[in-house]
């Protein structure tokens, strides 16, 4: 299934503005002073979850593209949104929740922070190499480099999982979504879906 609409300008704007929604939502809440009893914690957790959702949306582009070809044109934008929210997440953690001295201590003392940090390093390097120039320059290794996004997604889930005190329902749901998305690729590349190109 494909059509002209997938290439239309308005769809591009729709996805672009849609990606900004969580940011706008937060902005409104900050202006209203409506972030709950612990605003800093709310902000950091919200931005982290937004980053995870964007990352999963990025990973859903390839499977979706099988049904709606042309969808792949939004992959870079969604990936950059994941990086954007992850960056805001870490910045707000550093600014509002701990001071930067503690951040360094946390990095080596707390494994869940180490996982999150590694994921951020991956996302930053993918973001920096996401432009056409770098794609050309890196050639074949570009694809290999950008497969690290799978590792980043797994690290983010572990990062989430290790912060749970008792109830695993929420990270479990995200983990299931990720498993489906990764499982699709496994089947796809081993030709079981019959579409192996």
């Amino acid at each position: 299934m494909t059509g002209k609409w997938i290439k239309s300008r308005w769809l591009w704007w729709l996805v672009f503005l849609g990606g900004l929604l969580p940011f706008v939502f937060l902005g409104v809440r900050i202006v209203q002073n409506n972030l709950g009893s612990e605003p800093a914690k709310y902000l950091v957790e919200f931005l982290g979850e937004a980053a995870l959702v964007m990352l999963l949306l990025t990973l859903s582009v390839t499977p979706l593209n099988r049904f709606v070809s042309g969808w792949v044109r939004f992959r870079r934008m969604l990936g950059l949104y994941a990086l954007f929210y992850a960056g805001c997440h870490v910045a707000s953690y550093g600014v509002f929740l701990v001071d930067w001295n503690n951040l360094l201590e946390d990095l080596y003392k707390r494994p869940y922070i180490t996982m999150g940090f590694l994921a951020l390093v991956i996302l930053v390097s993918l973001g920096l190499t996401s432009n056409k120039l770098m794609m050309r320059r890196l050639g074949r290794s570009w694809k290999r480099l950008h497969r690290l996004v799978y590792l980043a997604a797994i690290l983010v889930i572990v990062h989430f999982w290790w912060q749970v005190r008792s109830d695993f329902t929420e990270p479990l749901l995200y983990a299931l979504v990720l498993m489906c998305l990764l499982g699709f690729r496994f089947r796809y590349f081993s030709g079981l879906l019959g579409g192996g190109r």
């Binding site: 900050i30 009893s37 612990e38």
Partner: protein, 323 residues
């Protein structure tokens, strides 16, 4: 992703109780009690609540917490850990109203001369109430200052005449999954009913407190109605809520959090800035209220600032090993 937006018709807690109304609470309680006694000559449900509001009104002021600035009622009653109703801080305020707290009874078991089932009235009857302003430090590194209403735990426990075999006292929270949605969660590592306990000398310490109210009102459900423990020098999860069972034991049971995470939550769980939780630091805490640009981060004190009173309970003990 959890995005919670208030429905337009939602009533904000500040609309229910403004600070000025709180400060005039005694007038209100006088008026309310007078009205209730006129309208409903003491019987059944009405008598429990009128007698409690009467007692709250007559509560003695104490010197505890003088000079501390209180955490607003809105935060105290909307930012809670009560995992029986869900793990989000806003879950208890949203879902705890489903819990039936009247009638209520407490069963007393184990090494004591007086055991059996007691109604809430039986439990409360002989105790005059006092107001105590205590700091509450959560193991998650946030803290509050709360005006509790209640009576010393020791006064209650003595009534049951614990025998010399009673080395520990354990408490249990209500287990009622049809009213407590968190108890129905499939992927939780906590076992229900929630169990907490104290060494007998800790329980008998004058700071250990049974609370039935806060801010001059009966305990809201999300804060552990109708009766809960408050042990101010320990992390908040030791202060068990909505108590239905008291057991005097010779041996130490494992508490719910000890079972769920033995390397993270010890039996003692005294507030201690020098012993980190394995996943986060305990050196500082975020005192509520706070805002984005005034995070209100303060240093955590040994025994939550009650060291002068309680340090002797742990003389000679390695507090790193017995965390």
């Amino acid at each position: 992703m959890l995005i919670k937006t208030g429905k337009p018709g939602d009533i904000r807690p500040s609309e229910i109780t403004s600070e000025s109304a709180y400060l005039r609470r005694r007038e209100f309680l006088y008026g309310g009690a007078a009205f209730a006694s006129l309208a409903l000559p003491g019987r059944g449900l009405a008598s429990v609540s009128t007698s409690l509001s009467q007692r709250l009104k007559e509560a003695d002021k104490t010197a505890f917490g003088e000079g501390e600035s209180l955490t607003p009622f809105r935060d105290v009653t909307n930012y809670n850990n009560f995992y029986e109703f869900g793990t989000d801080k806003s879950d208890p305020a949203e879902y705890a109203r489903a819990m039936t707290v009247d009638p209520w009874s407490v069963s007393v078991e184990g090494h004591a001369e007086v055991t059996g089932n007691f109604t809430l009235e039986d439990i409360l009857k002989p105790h005059g109430l006092e107001e105590r302003i205590y700091r509450l430090r959560c193991v998650e590194a946030w803290s509050m200052v709360i005006p509790w209403y209640g009576f010393p735990l020791a006064d209650l426990l003595k009534r049951f005449k614990p025998t010399s075999k009673a080395k520990y006292v354990f408490f249990e929270t209500l287990y009622r999954p049809d009213e407590m949605r968190g108890q129905r969660s499939l992927f939780t590592s906590l076992e229900w009913p929630y169990v907490e306990g104290l060494r007998m000398d800790e329980a008998m310490h004058p700071l250990s407190f049974m609370a039935v109210g806060l801010y001059g009102k009966a305990l809201p459900n999300q804060n552990g109605a109708p009766i809960r423990l408050v042990v101010p020098w320990k992390y908040g999860f030791k202060s068990i809520k909505s108590i239905v069972k008291i057991r005097f034991m010779e041996e130490r049971l494992k508490t719910s959090w000890e079972k769920a995470g033995p390397s993270e939550y010890g039996f003692y769980s005294n507030v201690n800035p020098n012993v980190d939780h394995p996943r986060w630091s305990q050196k500082t805490e975020r005192r509520l209220p706070n805002s984005l640009f005034s995070p209100n981060r303060i240093d955590t004190q040994m025994f939550n600032g009650y060291a002068d009173e309680v340090a002797s309970l742990y003389a000679g003990m390695d507090l790193k090993a017995n965390f």
